[in-house]
């Protein structure tokens, strides 16, 4: 029953994409397809966290930003001026200071082995944190100021490696951060976890936006190289300008789809296997699962990291594709809530649902703007005709309509299809 329904839904989605493609042209629809498949990967990441594990992660934006920063660092050409200056040495010192501070805090946290206990240990830990912070700031501040100056090369630049390595590094970086975040936050339940993860993603955003020496901050980094031949290379190879964009994007699309299919296959297997069964048991009743001997915190940390890896890779892909890394372009609405709407509308716990939701919501999100503009133009003409005058600033107003549409979509979905369009199949032993 659900299989037939999902087939119908996917067929409908295909028709929608064809119609939009017919209206917007091949170059635009390939662009939309690449982005929506990258979002599908991110939605699968959230589906692992929320659908499999029941974890309330509202910090998706932070993971996407980390992925973007990672691919920027790996794939952007080498900044020779930075490597030739004092910068690397100063950064090395800052890293040493960081490690020293880390060792200090670690030592204070384990000071009970030396017989320091209770209140004294707390005081020592706080003191260690303060001293570590001062040591780190005393090294990083001059280093950052030097690198950002003309002599230091402005920023550290990249490593000039292949972008796909950047995607891998994006996943690794997201995993590392997710481990730390998970260690801190996963003891919290639902609402507390939601706010804590939002907070951490805001901290990541503030850091990446203001660490100009690392990411160039608001100055943005572009153009990032593509993992597949770009339009310019194809034009040099003799194809026309219009065709070169379509083919280059199709090449990128193929790469994204390969990653998506591989990931999909793996996590679908994981869902069906004993691991997935255990995760669902923890999600549905963590107390019961804990009493059956499952290590709940550890398993939750596992899904949190796994989901974050997919988000990091997806974020890296999006940045590679757009060829620009702009930390100030990241907004919670576009990069956290949008993904949530995708998973909720599609069907949490079902990977087909998550992918379907991602494709459907992304295309709805993208076409709301031109549709609203078309609608407003007509209303404006009509109101001018009856003497009320035109609507001012149609362009900027119409682009805000998609936020409204997103809100309406999730409200309707929660009311009439609370388990999603392609809900999770609950198997029952006969």
């Amino acid at each position: 029953m659900i299989a037939r329904r999902s087939l119908t839904l996917f067929a409908g989605l295909f028709v929608l994409f064809v119609l939009v493609g017919w209206a917007l042209g091949a170059a635009n629809i390939t662009l939309l397809l690449v982005q929506s498949f990258a979002y599908a990967l991110i939605a699968l990441g959230l589906n692992i966290q929320w659908g499999y594990g029941g974890l309330f992660n509202f910090g998706i934006m932070g993971m996407l930003m980390l992925g973007g920063a990672a691919t920027t660092f790996i794939s952007y050409p080498v900044n020779a001026q930075f490597w030739g200056s004092e910068g690397p040495l100063m950064l090395g010192k800052a890293l040493l200071a960081f490690l020293a501070g880390f060792a200090l805090v670690w030592g204070a946290r384990h000071s009970d082995r030396l017989g320091i206990r209770g209140r004294w240990k707390t005081a020592l830990t706080i003191l260690a944190w303060i001293v570590a912070y001062i040591i780190y700031r005393s090294q990083i501040d001059p280093a950052a100021a030097y690198i950002e100056s003309a002599a230091g090369g402005g920023w550290i630049g990249g490593l000039g490696l292949h972008p796909v390595l950047g995607w891998v590094f994006g996943g690794v970086l997201a995993a590392g951060v997710a481990y730390v975040v998970g260690k801190i936050c996963l003891g919290l339940r639902t609402d507390y976890l939601a706010i804590a993860t939002i907070g951490i993603s805001e901290i990541i955003r503030a850091l990446l936006k203001n660490m100009d020496w690392l990411t160039r901050g608001t100055l943005t980094v572009s153009p990032l190289p593509w993992p597949v031949p770009g339009p310019q290379e194809l034009q040099a190879g003799g194809s026309s300008i219009a065709d070169s964009f379509v083919y280059a994007r199709l090449g990128f699309l193929a790469l994204v789809v390969v990653v998506l299919v591989a990931v999909f296959w793996l996590i679908q297997r994981a869902y069906g296997g004993p691991w997935g069964r255990m995760m669902r048991a923890i999600r549905d009743n963590y107390i019961a699962a804990g009493s059956m001997g499952k290590n709940v915190t550890r398993r939750q940390l596992e899904v949190f990291i796994l989901g974050s890896v997919l988000m990091g890779i997806g974020g890296a892909m999006l940045v590679s594709f757009q060829q620009i890394y702009d930390p100030s372009a990241y907004q919670p609405i576009n990069h956290t809530f949008l993904i949530w709407v995708m998973v909720i509308v599609g069907g949490a716990g079902n990977n087909w649902g998550a992918v379907f939701g991602a494709l459907l919501i992304y295309i709805t999100w993208m076409i709301s703007d031109p549709v609203a503009q078309w609608l407003f133009n007509h209303i404006s003409n009509w109101s001018t005709d009856i003497g009320w005058g035109p609507i001012p600033e149609i362009q900027s107003r119409a682009s805000q309509m998609r936020v409204f549409v997103l809100g309406v979509v999730i409200t309707i979905a929660l009311r009439y299809a609370p388990r999603g369009l392609i809900p999770e199949v609950v198997k029952r032993e006969a």
Partner: protein, 333 residues
């Protein structure tokens, strides 16, 4: 002494103003959590909406020529804006949350629904008001109050604006009113009973539907108040409260979700922490620089100004690690 007054103006005054706004917002969040057991994410947008309603009312009042001496029109229209926002809050509950509650949806679903409401309100506000900024004091002057300090050698004065003074007064009045409502009135006691145990409250004959309605009325009017105060202090723009909803949640959680007094404490804690963290402490060290073993740097702030927003979360994370449900013991879903 001059340096101390500089410190007072930049940390104490700013902290009290910011803390009042956070506290008034956080009370609404915490009340809704206490009664309905979900984190109402759309609270920030209810604040923005309240501020825009107050702004429209102010324009209407100015067009009609209604004004009171010594009182900015923004404060004059505040009670009306609070009433209108409270009615809208009731409507939001009826339209969006009540149907889900009737179905017995989990709190998590309500939280996601509140994100939908956030997006809808954001979209509507931007649709009608564009994305520019407005100012409550376009036509009226924003009066600056300077109080000279009667001490020798002091040239600086204690400075704050008239709206800031009125804001703090409004907050004190609102907090006192809420305190007496919760402790003295029958309905307030019913609210506290329901926050403690909803099922027990219902079987002991408390009209829970009425309590829910009253909660939305209080939360809506406080949201309008907090939003308008914020807009009076800075500027009015569509994403005004979207950035501030996070510190407000942090304040509510730090104080313990469901604890009204905790929300006030959390609001002021975070307000002061934010202003103190970005304050340039070398100003205070400079007069005693001769006695210090090290050279005083030009700027010595705990964090650079750009990281102001992160202070709230660092406090949040630290408090949650130390006491997992906030300073005052908060409720769980």
């Amino acid at each position: 002494m001059n340096e101390l007054i500089f410190f007072f103006n930049n940390v104490i005054v700013a902290g009290v103003v910011l803390g009042s706004i956070y506290a008034v917002g956080a009370i609404g969040v915490t009340l809704i959590f206490g009664i309905l057991r979900f984190a109402h994410f759309a609270h920030g947008d209810m604040m923005t909406m309240g501020a825009f309603i107050a702004f429209l009312l102010m324009l209407a009042f100015q067009a009609m020529g209604i004004s009171v001496p010594f009182l900015p029109t923004g404060f004059l229209v505040l009670p009306i804006a609070m009433v209108i926002t409270a009615i809208i809050a009731l409507g939001l509950d009826k339209g969006f949350y009540a149907p889900l509650r009737r179905r017995g949806a989990r709190p998590v679903t309500l939280l996601i629904a509140s994100i939908g409401v956030t997006l809808i309100i954001q979209g509507l506000i931007r649709l009608f008001f564009g994305s520019g900024t407005w100012n409550f004091f376009e036509t009226e002057p924003k009066q600056l109050i300077r109080i000279p300090v009667p001490l020798e050698g002091v040239t600086r004065t204690i400075n704050f604006t008239q709206p800031q003074l009125l804001m703090v007064i409004c907050t004190v009045v609102a907090v006192l009113a809420l305190h007496f409502f919760l402790t003295r009135s029958r309905l307030g006691k019913a609210m506290r009973a329901m926050a403690d145990n909803a099922d027990l409250a219902q079987v002991s004959g408390i009209n829970t539907k009425l309590v829910v309605r009253v909660t939305w009325i209080i939360a809506g009017s406080l949201a309008a108040m907090a939003g308008t105060m914020l807009a009076l202090d800075v500027q009015l723009k569509p994403d005004l409260a979207f950035n501030i909803v996070l510190p407000i949640f942090a304040a509510a959680i730090v104080g313990g979700l469901g604890q009204s007094y905790g929300a006030i404490a959390g609001g002021f804690l975070i307000g002061f922490a934010e202003t103190a963290a970005i304050f340039n402490w070398s100003v205070l060290l400079r007069p005693i620089s001769g006695a210090l073993p090290f050279e005083v740097p030009a700027t010595l702030a705990v964090v650079p100004t750009e990281y102001k927003l992160t202070v709230a979360f660092v406090i949040l994370v630290v408090v949650l690690l130390w006491r997992p449900t906030g300073i005052f013991k908060g409720a769980q879903t």
